[in-house]
């Protein structure tokens, strides 16, 4: 169990958590959080999987991840701006199909 595989596994875990929250949480800000977590997960997978071979540190996946991080901040910024415009225009920061519910939120727990 090399540490690279551990981080690759962590990346997959983050992806799963991200998709889970993206689909189930209603508030758009939370969906943006979920997208960011998924992005980090994908980048971990990219570098972790690349490093599994145990060879010397490979700079190419790292460069790709830096590019990925900058791309994901741009997407996040646009998403957040859209969330604000939606909240101002429609009163709620939620898509029409999510306005009444939040599937993750349960009274019991």
């Amino acid at each position: 169990m090399s540490s690279a595989l551990l981080y690759a596994g962590a990346g997959m875990g983050l992806l799963l958590v991200g998709v889970w929250a993206l689909v189930l949480r209603a508030h758009l800000l939370r969906k943006v959080l979920a997208i960011n977590v998924m992005g980090s997960g994908a980048f971990l997978l990219l570098v972790g999987a690349g490093a599994m071979g145990g060879g010397p540190v490979d700079p190419v996946p790292q460069a790709m991840v830096i590019t990925g991080i900058v791309v994901s901040i741009s997407a996040t910024a646009l998403a957040l701006a859209l969330v604000l415009r939606i909240a101002y225009a429609t009163g709620k920061a939620a898509l029409p199909e999510d306005r009444e519910r939040d599937l993750m939120d349960r009274e019991g727990r």
Partner: protein, 479 residues
């Protein structure tokens, strides 16, 4: 062409010019219309340059940074990409001319449209020429972000919802695509398509990444189960934006699915059959929804969902006769870009003139706007696959390949789909020929808008006649 003009690196200029144009239009908001239009013509010129280079010298290769495949990134312009570049150039110029006239009454929106549109065009030109899987991820993102911002340009509640849902789906698709890239790099140590083609050895370590990438691209193409975001986004956007989205943007991710398919040629019946069934479901679902729409732009948007289904019918047919099925699907994609672009532009013109786009209130559009209705009718004819049109040739090729392999069921689906499409197109035409009871005030519609819609529609019909010269371009590409 004088020698120095021919020597220019058109492949690179096709990407650099729209980027420079976008920056110039962003920095000079008051002169955005002039800058935007002139850079559109320049970009289209560059794209035509690439096409001419391909015709005279064959497939082109450009190693960016001079490092070559494993280390650097290559740009490749082969038959498939120059067809897509040509498509984007023609539809792009038509939409640009239309947009200049369309945005005159909206002075605040015009300076925002042009930079985003030129970024989108740069992303398209980059995507069609890139031969590097990670670079394609970046181009997909650039395309996605500018497309989302263009949809949000309308500013109304539904448009913002449509843009947000489109952005979330697009990001989810890109991430699935990125997971695929990560696994490919893990297994084969390179992200260059040509090298991947050589090193790909099948098995699970090719199937899973390919599956993830194709799933991500299907999300962005809006194929049946993932189509939910498409109609609200394309329907609520401004007419020129909807024409770009339905005509070009969804084609880019479809082009990528084809590019991956041709690179790795995955064998096995499962995936192609699944894609074919999803395509068939898309055709029926999209057409039935389109029939139920009250508003014209939503009808045209649902028609996109249906027509995209056609493109995927080629996958199950590509077993024995790949050549014919693929050229049929690619030809359908081309004529759909022209026809759907023309249809949205026509819908925009109708909306501008009547102030609304209620289908059953299309009070005698045939007399008030003969050119626009001719554009809508010709585009509808191409979508329904009625001769003489590009859509007919595309459908004929798919039908031929289906009948040659005795797969009658797919032929039946294609034919019934064509009938359904004809139904909702002619439902609109029926109302367009009928005088409605209520009176609607009339606004002035600039001639440029009507003529561009008509010329695009004529392009879709013309494609019906140039097939024997256009299809050989694909020879080197198809498996």
């Amino acid at each position: 062409m004088s020698t120095w003009l021919a020597a220019l690196p058109w492949m690179v200029l096709a990407i650099a010019i729209p980027l420079l144009g976008a920056l110039a239009a962003f920095v000079q908001p008051r002169r955005a219309q002039v800058i935007g239009l002139s850079f559109s013509f320049l970009t289209a010129g560059a794209a035509v340059g690439v096409v001419l280079d391909f015709i005279t010298l064959g497939p082109q290769q450009h190693a960016v940074g001079g490092w070559g495949a494993p280390l650097g990134i290559d740009l490749v312009a082969d038959g498939l990409s120059i067809l897509m570049l040509g498509m984007s150039a023609v539809v792009g110029v038509a939409v640009s001319i239309y947009a200049r006239a369309y945005f005159v009454p909206y002075p605040d929106k015009a300076p925002r449209f042009w930079p985003l549109w030129l970024f989108l065009w740069a992303a398209l030109n980059a995507l069609f020429q890139s031969a590097d899987v990670f670079n394609l991820y970046v181009t997909l993102e650039l395309m996605g972000l500018s497309a989302v911002a263009l949809v949000a340009l309308t500013g109304s509640g539904p448009a913002l919802w449509g843009a947000m849902r489109y952005l979330l789906v697009s990001l989810l698709g890109s991430l699935a695509y990125l997971v695929g890239v990560a696994l490919l790099y893990h297994a084969y140590g390179t992200v260059d398509l040509t090298l991947l083609a050589e090193r790909a050895d099948g098995g699970l370590q090719l199937a899973v990444p390919l599956g993830a990438m194709i799933a991500g691209l299907l999300l962005k193409t809006g194929l049946f189960p993932f189509h939910v975001w498409l109609p609200p986004a394309h329907g609520s956007a401004r007419a020129p934006v909807s024409a770009l989205l339905s005509g070009l943007v969804v084609k880019a991710s479809f082009y990528l699915v084809l590019r991956l398919w041709f690179t790795f040629v995955p064998e096995g019946e499962g995936l192609p059959l699944l894609l074919g069934c999803l395509g068939a479901a898309a055709i029926f679902w999209g057409s039935i929804q389109a029939l139920r729409q009250k508003r014209l732009k939503l009808l045209v948007a649902y028609s996109t969902v249906a027509q995209l289904g056609y493109l995927f019918i080629a996958f199950p047919l590509a077993g024995l006769e790949p050549q014919m099925a693929w050229s049929g699907s690619i030809y359908l994609a081309l004529s759909h870009a022209f026809a759907k672009g023309a249809m949205f532009l026509a819908a925009g013109a109708i909306m501008t003139q009547g102030g609304h786009d209620e289908i059953d209130e299309l009070d005698l559009v045939v007399d008030r706007m003969p050119l626009t209705l001719a554009a809508f009718a010709l585009a509808g004819i191409s979508l329904a696959g009625l001769p003489p049109s590009g859509g007919f040739v595309g459908k004929w090729l798919l039908l031929e390949s289906a009948m040659a392999q005795g797969k009658g069921i797919w032929a039946a689906i294609i034919i019934v789909g064509g009938l359904l499409t004809a139904t909702y197109v002619f439902r609109v035409l029926g109302f367009a020929f009928t005088r409605s009871e209520h009176h609607h005030e009339r606004h002035e519609v600039p001639a440029a808008m009507e003529w561009t819609a008509l010329l695009l529609a004529l392009g879709a019909v013309l494609l019906g006649f140039v097939a024997p010269w256009a299809l050989p371009l694909l020879d080197g590409v198809l498996p």
